[in-house]
Symmetry: C2
Subunit: 418 residues, 2 copies
C-alpha cells in the first residue's frame, strides 16, 4: 500500500514565519506519519492572496492531502478562506451552521459577537464544515481534483483538537487504504548524538523498516522509530524487535518515551514512591524547580527549592562550611555534596538534589572551565556526586545541567526499588 502524500501550507509575515506556523507543521508532520501518510512538503509564504491561492493549487496537484494551517481569524489579514475558494474556483458562501457555532461560542462566554467575526462563517462553496470545539474559527475540507484540501486554525490548541477530532475522522473515511504504521519515540540522556548514532548502526537505519530518525534537544537525544506493514500487527512486530534492541544497547540511558523531559519522569517517580524532595540550585538558577513544577501535582512531593546563588546564601541557607568554600570553591564535589545534604536536612526532605557549576561566559579558569558542573543527590543517607563537562553557551549549559541533574536523581530513585 502506497502512503498518501500530504503537504502543509501556511502564510505569515517574517515575524510570525517559522513560529506558530512551524510549531503546527512539526506537530502535524508527526501525526500524519503516525496515520500512514507521507509528509512530502511544508511551505510557508507571505499573506498575499494570489500567491497563497496558487500554492494551494500546486500542492493539490502534487499531494493527496493538503492541510492549510492558520489564517481563519476574523481580520482582513486572514486570507485562508479567500485563498482556498480562489484555488478551488468557487465563491465563498456564508455557512449557517458555522455562524450558529460562532454565536454560541460568544453566548457561552456572555460576550457580544463583534460583526467582523461573521466572516469566519464564510466557507468555499461545497466545502464540508469542520467544527471547532475550542475557539471561534471553524475549519473546512473540500475536494480539489483528486486531492483533499483541509483548513485548520493557527492557534495550536485549536489545530490539535480539530485534527484529532473531526479531521481525523474524515481522513479515515476518505483515505481507507494507508500503510499500517507503528511508532515509538525513546528518549536517551548523557550520550552525545554521534555516539548514539554510531551505536545504533547495527540496530536501525534511516532507510530501514522501522525508519530511524534522531533529534537532539538539550542533553536529550530522541530516537524515533516508524515501522510500516500491511497490518497494524505486522508494523508492531517490526517495531518491537528494534525497540528491544535499542533498549538492550542503551540500558538505563533510556529514560522516557514519547517526548518526555527528565523532569516528567522524576516527578512521576517521586509521586509514585512518595519521596519528598528539596532542591539546591546554583548555576541553573531555578530551572530544575521550574521544570519539576511544570508537572501538575508535584506540590505533594516538592517541598522547596533554594537558589543559593551567592556563597553567603550557600553557607547560611544550606550550612555549607566556609572552610569547604575556601578550600575547594563553590564549584566542587565537596560543595555540591554539602549543598545536597544541607537541603535535605533543612527542608526535612527524604531526598535532595544540588547543582553547582560554571555557566559562563565569565568565571571560567583553567582548572574550572566554563561548562564544569557538579550534581549531587542525597537519598537514604547517602550522597553521590557526578561531574559533567558541558559544551555550549550559558543558556545551553544551564539547560543541559538541569537535565543531567534530574537524570542523576532519576537513576538513584530507580535503585530504591531494587
Amino acid at each position: 500500500v502506497r502512503a498518501p502524500l500530504a503537504e502543509i501550507v501556511a502564510s505569515g509575515d517574517e515575524l510570525t514565519l517559522g513560529r506558530i506556523a512551524n510549531t503546527n507543521a512539526a506537530w502535524l508532520s508527526r501525526r500524519l506519519a503516525d496515520l500512514g501518510f507521507q509528509v512530502s512538503r511544508h511551505t510557508t509564504l507571505p499573506d498575499v492572496l494570489r500567491e497563497y491561492a496558487s500554492e494551494i493549487r500546486a500542492a493539490a496537484r502534487r499531494a493527496d492531502l493538503v492541510i492549510l494551517s492558520g489564517g481563519l481569524g476574523p481580520t482582513v489579514d486572514d486570507l485562508t478562506r479567500e485563498a482556498a475558494a480562489r484555488a478551488l474556483g468557487v465563491p465563498l458562501v456564508r455557512d449557517r451552521r458555522a455562524l450558529a457555532q460562532i454565536r454560541r461560542f460568544f453566548a457561552r462566554r456572555a460576550r457580544t459577537m463583534p460583526p467582523t467575526n461573521e466572516r469566519q462563517a464564510d466557507l468555499p462553496r461545497g466545502a464540508a464544515l469542520l467544527p471547532n470545539p475550542v475557539g471561534t474559527a471553524p475549519g473546512f475540507a473540500a475536494r480539489a481534483g483528486r486531492s483533499l484540501v483541509a483548513a485548520l486554525p493557527g492557534v495550536p490548541g485549536e489545530l490539535f483538537a480539530m485534527f484529532d477530532g473531526p479531521l481525523r475522522r474524515l481522513l479515515e473515511k476518505r483515505f481507507p487504504r494507508r500503510p499500517a504504521v507503528a511508532t515509538r519515540e525513546l528518549e536517551l540522556i548523557g550520550l552525545p548524538e554521534s555516539e548514539v548514532g554510531r551505536r545504533l548502526e547495527g540496530i536501525a537505519s534511516p532507510q530501514g523498516n522501522p525508519r530511524l530518525s534522531l533529534m537532539v534537544r538539550d542533553a536529550v537525544v530522541c530516537v524515533r522509530l516508524v515501522a510500516r506493514g500491511r497490518t497494524k500487527a505486522e508494523a508492531r512486530r517490526a517495531l518491537g524487535a528494534v525497540v528491544k534492541g535499542v533498549r538492550a544497547e542503551f540500558g538505563d540511558r533510556v529514560f522516557g518515551e514519547g517526548g518526555q523531559d527528565p523532569a516528567d519522569v522524576v516527578a512521576a517517580l517521586l509521586m509514585r514512591s512518595k519521596v519528598t524532595l528539596a532542591l539546591a540550585e546554583s548555576c541553573t538558577g531555578g530551572l530544575v524547580g521550574h521544570l519539576l513544577t511544570n508537572v501538575a501535582g508535584v506540590s505533594r512531593v516538592l517541598l522547596e527549592g533554594l537558589v543559593t546563588y551567592s556563597n553567603a546564601s550557600k553557607a547560611r541557607r544550606l550550612g555549607v562550611r566556609r572552610s569547604t568554600l575556601a578550600r575547594h570553591g563553590a564549584v566542587s564535589r565537596a560543595c555540591a555534596a554539602e549543598m545536597a545534604a544541607g537541603a535535605a536536612r533543612t527542608a526535612r526532605a527524604a531526598a535532595a538534589l544540588a547543582i553547582t557549576g560554571v555557566a559562563g561566559p565569565g568565571g571560567g579558569t583553567r582548572a574550572k572551565p566554563v561548562g564544569l558542573v557538579f550534581t549531587a543527590v542525597r537519598l537514604r543517607g547517602r550522597t553521590t556526586v557526578e561531574e559533567h563537562r558541558i559544551p555550549g553557551d550559558r543558556v545551553a549549559v544551564k539547560s543541559r545541567a538541569a537535565r543531567l541533574a534530574l537524570d542523576h536523581l532519576r537513576r538513584r530513585l530507580l535503585r530504591i526499588g531494587s
Copy 2:
C-alpha cells in the same frame, strides 16, 4: 527600487521538520527583511535527493536569492551538496581550501579528522566557498541562472555567524540595488494582543510604511515596524515618527526593544543601579530565577531565590505568619506581601520579588480560580502588590506570571530614579 525576492529551502524528516530548519527560517526571514529583501517563501521537504534538487531549481526560477539551510554535515543523509550540484547541472569537486579549513578545525581541537568529514569539502563546481568560522561545515554560493543559491549549515550558531559574515558581504556586492530599510521591534507587556491591535489602528498598519506586524509570546506583545525608503535616512524618518507614536500611546507598557525578555531589562536595571535582589517564588517554581540567571553577570546583584512551594517552607524560610496563611490562604495579597518582605529581610537584599498563585489544573476554587496570581515587590521599605488573572494552562500561567512579576519589579525600579 524593487526588493529582491528571497526563498529559504531546507530538508528534514518529520521529527526535525519544523524544528531547527524553522528556527533558522524565522531568523533568516528577519535578517533578510532588514537587508531590503522580500522573503517570498520558505519550503521544507524530506531528505530525498530528486525532490530537493527539483525544488532548488524551481526556487531559483522564482526568486533572486535562494538560501539552503542544513544538510552540510558529514553523513550520507546530508544531501544539500548533491542536491545543489544536481540543480545547477554541475559535478561536485573537492575544494582544497575547504578541506584545509576542516583539517585545521580538528587540529585546533587536537582531534583526528574522521575520513567521512572529507565529504564536507565537496562543492558544486564553480561555487564560491563560504568559510565557516565556527564549525566544520563550509557553505557555498553559486549562480543559477539569474538567481544566487547559497548553502549554509543547519546548526543555528554556525548559520547565524556565516550569514552575518561571509554571506552578508557577498549579498551586498551581488545585490547593490535594494530598498533602504529601517526596522524596530518594541516589546509591550500587560495588554492583550487585541487591545494592542486596536490602539495601534490610527498609528500603523500591515499595509503601511512602516509595515506593522505583531507577535505574542507569553505575556509579551512584540510590535515590529519595517520602514522602506529610497535612502536609509528616508526609511529612518518614516520609522521614527511611528515609533514615537507607539511609545506615546503605550507609555511604560513598552519595556524593551529587539526581542528582549522582561528579565533582560530587569537584570540590566538592577546591575546599573546596584540594587541587590532576593526572590520568593511559589507557583512559578523557580522560573523567575531561571530567566534572570540567563543574563550573564547577574550574580553581582541576585543574592538568592527561595522556591517556597509548601506552606511550611513559606513560614519557616520567609517568616510568613501562620495566621496569614490560615486567614487569607497562600494565594493572597497578604501572603505575597509577607513573602516579599521576608525574602528581602532574610537575604539582606535591597529589593525582593514574590509570586504566589494558582497554576492549575487543580487547586482552583470559585473565589480563587486557576490563573489568579499575586506579585509583590519590596523596595526601599515599601511593598506593592498586584493581582493578575491569567488565562491558559499550567505552563502558560507560570510563564506569563513570571513575566508579569518581572514587569512589576521593572516599573518599581524605574521610579527609583524619578
